[in-house]
Amino acid sequence: MTSLLYELEAVRHGYGNAFTLDVPRLVLEEGASVGLVGPNGSGKSTLLRILALIEEPREGIVRFCGAAVGHETRPGAGGRRINGRSHLRRDVAILLQDPYLLKKTVFDNVAYGLKVRGEREGLSARVGEALEFVGLPPGRFAKRRWHELSGGESHRVALAARLAVRPKVLILDEPTASVDRQSARLIKEAVAEARRRHGTALIISSHDQVWLGGVAGETLKMYDGRIVEHGAPNILCGPWRPGENGLWRMALKDGQAISAVDPPRPDAAALLDPTSIILTTTRPRGVSAQNALGGTIASMTAEGKTIRVEIDVSGLPLHCTITPPAAESLKILPGRRVYVVFKASSLHWY
Amino acid sequence: MKHRIRVCVCLFTLGLLLLAGALLAAGDDRVLMMATTTSTDNTGLLNYLAPALKEETGIDLRWTAVGTGKALQLGQSCDVSVLLVHDPEAEEVFVQKGYGVDRTKVMYNDYIFIGPAGDPAGIKGKPVQAALALIAQTEANFASRGDNSGTHMAEVKLWKSAKLAVPDKETWYISTGQGMLNTIAIAAERNGYTLTDRGTYITYEANMKGNPPLVILVEGDKALRNQYSVIAVNPQNCPNGAYALAKEFIRWMVSPKTQRFVADFTMGGKQLFYPNAGEK
């Protein structure tokens, strides 16, 4: 059992009478890499700030590496700021959606985190390393002032400042949403590199589902202040072409196709909730679901009271959950050919 | 960072130096604080006397020039140690109330009536009371200081002596509330008359390059004398230890040498003050 990075209990937060965040329980393990998805206003940013220990929830306990940071249920405390346990805060770095650079040079911005920690040895080297990470050669960028950078460059400087302190946890709130493509690419590479080199845990909120699918081990889906789904959704990236009967189709390698309803763009990514999938061992007939795809069981993992099943559908991995009695009665085992059934309308767009 | 430290140290040192300079400057023992009037200061007499005083007695005279009323007030509140003013009535009250002692006449200059060369009211050469009566009768423009200064108080006294009420509600009577030169300027603009001390008139004449629009019309009347006196601030009222210096200053002012020195003071080549210490 790896040690717990975060343990949140009965955490609620909000202003006035309403709660904008309500998380009864959340556990993240050390070295985790977690994605966070959800529409705007679903409480993602609030949760990230609480995880970053820069904001205290109104109610509930937040434990970081075993140490409790939040308070017991204290109704009416309002959005209080954290002052205690600040040494714990130094293990977590958060990159806000619209990062703010200090009115100093690029070098000083990146060095700030190290300076407040008193780590002056090898400061230049670490700053230089962090700048290289994000694709900003120190020779050219170190002396630039905060107002002499493009949007993407500013974003990368902000990221470099967080990478330089080698935090245990790196929290990113929409890191690639408002930057140019090259910056987005460099940011993603830097994040991946940090994880590779230092084992940094990642908590990333992003609309880029394709990226999240690749970099995050698990994804939390948030809606209306709650975490509604704990487990990675299936991602179907398209491309989507118009098919007959008003549906759009994503072609698979072996000639099969997935049908969906009205993608916003031909290259939009769709999410398929694993609980929307039904497995059959025989080709279904006379069902309303538009999708009935043939595939092979790749793996099965027990997860508490359910079994998580991964199916290879023409090279595309899809997973769903079934109950043990169902698995037994259908004799679902790895290698078995099954049919994956789901409605065209159960695909959600991102 | 090093650069910043250097800047901070520089500023701090500069600050300390300035502070030291400012504080060290105030450290003399034989400093005598005096209150006098603006018109006295404007004559330049004190600039002329102060260095001689310093040389002969070592006293460092510092004076602030304000209106007579304020000068007396400063004496009353012990903010100065000696007064040089020219309002005998107010001075007597001051001494009576116990605020001042050793009131001593030192010199006088005189007031004069000036007005346009054309003299519409016809006051030239007349005695003071007659001149004022004529001005009131003809309703000629008259500019007054109107600021409770020595000159203003003298003017009020003259109206009273002519058995006339001070005409400050009349439209031809202009109460300026300003200094002497400004009041003269206003009188000139309105082609009117005014009462001024001779010293300021000499300055005005010089400013006008010897060709002033207003000329002297009435002078020499005993009632026009402007008597200056020095008063020491009563040490019983103000036990601040400066009384000894004030007494020494007064002694110096009435000494024959200084009195001659005062008479030698000229403005525009003309004698301005007539020493009369010891006169009854």
């Binding site: 806000l96 990062p99 985190g113 407040v116 | 400012a22 509140s77 903010d79």
Partner: protein
């Protein structure tokens, strides 16, 4: 109109012939304003900072009060300070009346609300993301404070420059408390008042130009310092 041109010419004459009274006035002005700026910044910057940053009951009232004090006429300030530094007043024994430090005190009273108000505005105008950014980078307590001050340094520079302008140009309080004593407490502004009262308008203009040059020199130094930081 003629006296304005005459004044310009006279200004150069005063400066280049080393006119002693003028240079004395400059020195007195510099001493008094340096003291008053130092005093008002040392007290006003933290006060203004706290007014914006901290929460306490009656904060809005205090803010309104400070802003109202911006309208204090200088002569009124002079009267108030005089009541304190006169011989019989509470601070009488300090011997501040008719001295440069006394004038500095009056100027501090005048300028303090400016520093507080402008600093508070500067801190209020700080980006809302600053605090979470600093916290997120691991800053604590004193580090938060110094970083916040550093971020508002440009606005604070402006506040200081404004305050200095007010201090160096004021007449009423300096006149009352300083007494306009030649060589000792005659500042450029009280000298201008004196000369103008005597009708010497050209001299008044000339001294005014000297004052502006002085203020310009100080502000230029500030600008240079600002650019370096």
């Amino acid at each position: 109109m003629a006296y304005i041109i005459e004044g310009f010419l006279k200004a150069w004459e005063l400066l280049f012939t080393g006119h002693p009274e003028t240079y004395s006035a400059v020195a007195v002005t510099l001493k008094a304003t340096s003291l008053s700026i130092a005093g008002s910044l040392v007290t006003g910057l933290p006060a203004g900072f706290c007014l914006a940053y901290c929460t306490f009951p009656g904060k809005k009232f205090l803010r309104a009060l400070v802003d109202t004090l911006l309208a204090l006429p200088t002569v009124v300030v002079g009267l108030l300070v005089y009541a304190f530094v006169t011989y019989r007043g509470p601070l009488g024994k300090l011997g501040l009346l008719f001295t440069i430090p006394g004038m500095a005190v009056a100027q501090i009273v005048l300028v303090f609300p400016i520093v507080v108000s402008l600093t508070a505005t500067a801190v209020e105008g700080l980006d809302r993301r600053l605090r979470p950014t600093l916290l997120g980078l691991g800053a604590r307590g004193g580090q938060l404070l110094s970083a916040t001050l550093s971020e508002s340094r440009f606005a604070i520079f402006t506040a200081s420059a404004t305050a200095y302008g007010r201090a160096i140009s004021e007449v009423g309080a300096s006149m009352m408390i300083g007494g306009n004593i030649k060589w000792h407490t005659r500042t450029i502004t009280t000298a201008i008042a004196l000369e103008t009262g005597k009708g010497e308008f050209a001299m008044g203009i000339a001294l005014g130009i000297v004052l502006l040059l002085l203020a310009f020199t100080v502000n230029w130094t500030l600008v240079l310092l600002k650019r370096r930081s």
